[in-house]
Point group: C2
Chain length 210, copies 2
């Protein structure tokens, strides 16, 4: 049933989605609410009406999609060995970063800011929690005798995030590096599979006991 309320929510959602893309592509300050209103096909006044201000709209975009730690936890529980758990989380990062690459573009731009804001603190806290789940798997894998002992736990966990991140948020350069045409390269399954497979191999060779 399409109620009036649903219509209203849909419009709100539409503004959020369009704004997410524009903010990701150009940055917060570079996008005017006039341009946003044009692209989203709404009146300028609607942004204040729905969100109060451009700033509050931005906050909502950032906060609404932060990957929940719960999702990660449930995926970890679905696997038995620490190797499988690690692979699953690495794959999840690839999926989440690539599928929501506009969003993560915004997140990583925010992380690169040196001034500490409320949002910055929330983002850092969220990323840290997810990071902890990753490093805990490695730590436990070492204790269980599945992984080598003399490894840099923090930096190998950082590597998973860093590689997935660069791959998903710098499309032009990545296309050039992989020798793929940009029009063809929509981060399709083929390239995602390659990325996942590579990370599995990289992690295995660094962590696994020969």
């Amino acid at each position: 049933m399409v109620t009036e309320e649903n219509k209203s929510i849909e419009k709100r959602e539409n503004i959020l989605n369009v704004a997410e893309i524009l903010f990701a592509q150009q940055g917060f300050e570079a996008v005017s609410i006039r341009e946003l209103a044009k692209v989203a096909d709404i009146n300028i006044a609607m942004i204040s009406y729905y969100f109060g201000s451009k700033e509050k709209l931005y906050e909502e975009i950032v906060l609404r999609k932060l990957t929940s730690t719960e999702k990660m936890k449930s995926i970890i529980e679905q696997h038995n060995t620490y190797t499988d758990k690690l692979f699953a989380i690495s794959d999840l990062y690839a999926d989440v970063f690539i599928e929501n690459r506009n969003f993560h573009n915004i997140i990583f731009r925010e992380m690169a800011m040196e001034q500490r804001t409320m949002m910055n603190a929330v983002i850092t806290e969220n990323l840290y929690k997810n990071f902890t789940l990753l490093s805990d798997i490695i730590r436990k894998g070492i204790k269980a005798g599945e992984f080598k002992k003399n490894i840099d736990i923090e930096l190998v966990a950082t590597t998973v995030i860093a590689v997935n991140k660069l791959f998903s948020t710098s499309p032009i350069v990545i296309c050039k590096i992989l020798n793929v045409d940009e029009s063809e390269f929509t981060y399709g399954e083929k390239h995602k599979k390659r990325l996942k497979k590579y990370l599995h191999n990289l992690l295995t060779s660094y962590l696994a006991i020969p």
Copy 2:
């Protein structure tokens, strides 16, 4: 000898340096020439006088420090084995990214833009050239029997860049991950050494023939 001309060049340099920091911290659009003039302790009109416009000032900041391929080439030539060549380039990335982290913050933000501009093209071309030097070392190392055959050359080269990049441009999160106090963590030698050593080990375990 301090001539009038030198003084003028110094002032120009000062504006470039201050602007680089501000643009890195806040993004191009978020920095007003009024704020820039205040921090650099110059008059607003001086920006137009020296650079023509805010846009041209930005272009000069981006273009002036792009890592020359020549420097990389000379470093590569100084080493004999492909392993040593690879380590040297990996170390160079760590040094260059960390020492010029404000600059690289700007570069990577520009890379994340999906709209293609003149500057974007120059940056991509530069990064691609440096990337090619890196992947060539790996390719030749395989031919020479120093590295394994079944590896993903492009993605391992990307990894070197990705890890060094995240490490240098997201200080707040990295501090939290490494459990280091931010005031203490000025990307000192200690953490740089750790990063370099980790990448050596990671590359060795992925590439070296057991």
